[in-house]
């Protein structure tokens, strides 16, 4: 019997090792690394002091924290819009569509997901730019007299972002709603509830884990998005990830880049944590896919 539990202990260690290597080397250490880097102030050639200088610089430069604020606000806006856009679709797929159509619809929803961010952004460019499809249609139908540039403004960025992330809202919602017993809704109606009451008191609380999961993923993807705001917003995009890119690649100022990275991380983590707290869910039972 002693041999058997030794064998089990060995198995545990063997299974734990890849996990530990992965998490420590690729997640924990790197993040400690950028945190460490963000505290390094460039005092002279290859000389560094530890200080909050980078953070102070960030706060002092309006364009930086304006960008962060703007990213934050738009991200939250996009997330809320996505929830409202996506929920009816998710409900339709989970509850109303018939069996066969449901599988097909779900698959249709997934297809844009598999195609790269790049292709999606590119598609919107083709559609919305001056020489693009929508402009062409508008001209052809006589509604406008000349080519219309629809890119490079905030509304387009929002539309593009919603498009990119709406599926990440729908998928967890469908999974959660799928598990809901139809008889719960029927009981709600049977006991006299109106459609609004049933929605508010029965469906939404039940779907809460899915909603929170969607919220977290969508928000995180939006705030961390790069291609869509940059390509669709052009020079006016002012998106925070673009700032990070600039600092790292264009200016080679890794300290500043790391600082921005840490700030972005703190920001998204705080919102995620708030979201989890306010709705009483935990990370494990929302984001972990069904």
């Amino acid at each position: 019997m002693a041999a058997r539990s030794d064998q089990q202990k060995l198995a545990l260690i063997l299974l734990f090792t890849p996990f530990l290597l992965w998490i420590v080397l690729l997640i924990v250490l790197p993040h400690i690394g950028i945190l460490h880097l963000s505290f390094q102030e460039k005092v002279g050639l290859r000389e560094f002091n530890y200080s909050f200088a980078n953070y102070i610089d960030f706060l002092n430069e309006p364009i930086y924290w304006n960008t962060l604020l703007r990213t934050a606000v738009i991200s939250i806006l996009v997330t809320v819009i996505t929830l409202f856009v996506g929920f009816p679709i998710a409900y339709y797929i989970a509850k109303i569509a018939r069996r066969r159509i449901r599988g097909a619809l779900f698959l249709l929803c997934l297809i844009p997901l598999w195609v790269s961010d790049l292709v999606r952004a590119f598609g919107w460019i083709v559609l919305l730019r001056e020489t693009g499809v929508v402009s062409g249609v508008l001209q052809w139908s006589g509604l406008v007299g000349q080519p219309v540039e629809m890119l490079y403004n905030d509304a387009t960025i929002v539309i593009g972002l919603v498009y990119t992330v709406v599926l990440f809202m729908i998928v967890p919602l469908v999974s959660t709603l799928d598990g809901m017993d139809d008889s719960l809704v029927e009981a709600g109606f049977n006991l006299g509830g109106s459609r609004l009451t049933v929605l508010r008191r029965i469906i939404i609380p039940y779907a809460m884990p899915g909603i929170v999961a969607g919220f977290i993923i969508v928000f995180m993807l939006t705030a961390g998005s790069y291609l869509t705001p940059v390509l669709l917003g052009g020079k006016n995009s002012m998106w925070f990830t673009e700032q990070i890119y600039n600092q790292f690649i264009t200016r080679y100022n890794w300290q500043a880049g790391a600082t921005f990275g840490v700030l972005l991380l703190i920001f998204t983590s705080t919102v995620v944590w708030l979201g989890l707290r306010l709705s009483g869910q935990s990370l494990a039972n929302t984001v972990a896919k069904p």
Binding site: L14, F122, V126
Partner: protein, 285 residues
């Protein structure tokens, strides 16, 4: 009341249809202009052509003859394969670790496993870049040797993508493992198999659909990844980066639309395979 609810129903259905049109529109646009016989991916429509795929003369260089794009495809493919294999392997270990074993602070470690999913890809990229770079500098300073493979390049790209894709594969495989009735392992033991044989002939075959699905998902996500890859890429660039470069610097020709079509068809096929594999598997009982 009846007409109101009928109207409501029609609006609802209409909304659903509009939504799917909205989903399809950019993809259709991107794909359609791949077949446009024009130098720009825009109107007017000058006729149907397959040149952007197959032609090999300038200025209309088709996808399958454009060396840089083809090389991008080649790298994307191998990166995807590597990431897929690694993440399915580690994902399987993680699945067994969390579904079968008990150990202290298990909940804490489980949360740690999920955290990569809530970290923006950009942050994953820069953090690994910084770590690799400090390691390289450290080794160079101490021993004078510069480990090139830790500089931005294929290995780093694979590691960067692996860092979060593993979470996804772990979850997919763990979900299937959870449904596994331990009685079957006991039955196999009872019939005379040793533990390795049980794993090989009973547990892993049961997991097979999940392993395949996880592998396909990992491949697809790796293939289309941009944010994390952007910071880790060296001179050998995968397709997404190549395409972005082309778009930003040279301006777009319909060859990029052709690439989009190839990507769409490829991912749709793989996704279909993974769904089919998961569908016709009996659950057992």
């Amino acid at each position: 009341m009846r007409t109101q609810s009928l109207l409501a129903r029609w609006i609802y259905h209409g909304y659903v249809i509009v939504f799917f049109v909205y989903l399809a529109a950019p993809l259709a646009a991107a794909g359609l202009f791949a077949f446009n016989d024009s130098l720009f991916p825009s109107l007017p429509w000058r006729g149907f052509t397959l040149d952007w795929f197959f032609s090999d003369t300038e200025p209309k260089l088709g996808v399958f003859h454009d060396d840089r794009l083809l090389r991008g495809l080649y790298y994307s493919f191998w990166i995807g394969l590597a990431v897929s294999a690694l993440s399915v392997f580690v994902g399987t270990c993680n699945a067994f670790l969390f579904e079968r074993k008990s150990f202290p602070a298990k909940n804490f470690f489980y949360v740690m496993m999920i955290i990569p999913l809530v970290i923006p890809g950009v942050i994953l990229g820069i953090s690994i870049l910084v770590l690799a770079s400090s390691i390289v500098n450290g080794i160079e300073e101490r021993w004078g040797y510069e480990p090139d493979f830790l500089r931005p390049g294929l290995l780093l790209v694979v590691l960067g993508q692996f860092s979060f894709i593993t979470t996804i594969t772990s979850l997919v495989i763990a979900a299937r493992l959870r449904k596994f009735d331990v009685e079957m392992e006991e039955a196999a033991l009872n019939l005379g198999a040793n533990r390795w044989r049980v794993l090989r002939t009973v547990t892993l075959p049961y997991l097979r659909p999940a392993l395949i699905a996880a592998g396909v998902v990992a491949f697809l996500i790796s293939f289309e990844n941009f944010n994390t890859t952007l910071f880790l890429v060296g001179s050998e660039a995968p397709l997404t980066i190549t395409m972005y470069d082309r778009m930003a610097k040279v301006g777009s020709t319909p060859v990029l639309n052709a690439v989009s079509v190839v990507l769409m068809v490829g991912s749709a096929t793989l996704a279909l395979i993974s769904v089919l594999v998961q569908r016709d598997v009996p659950d057992g009982r």
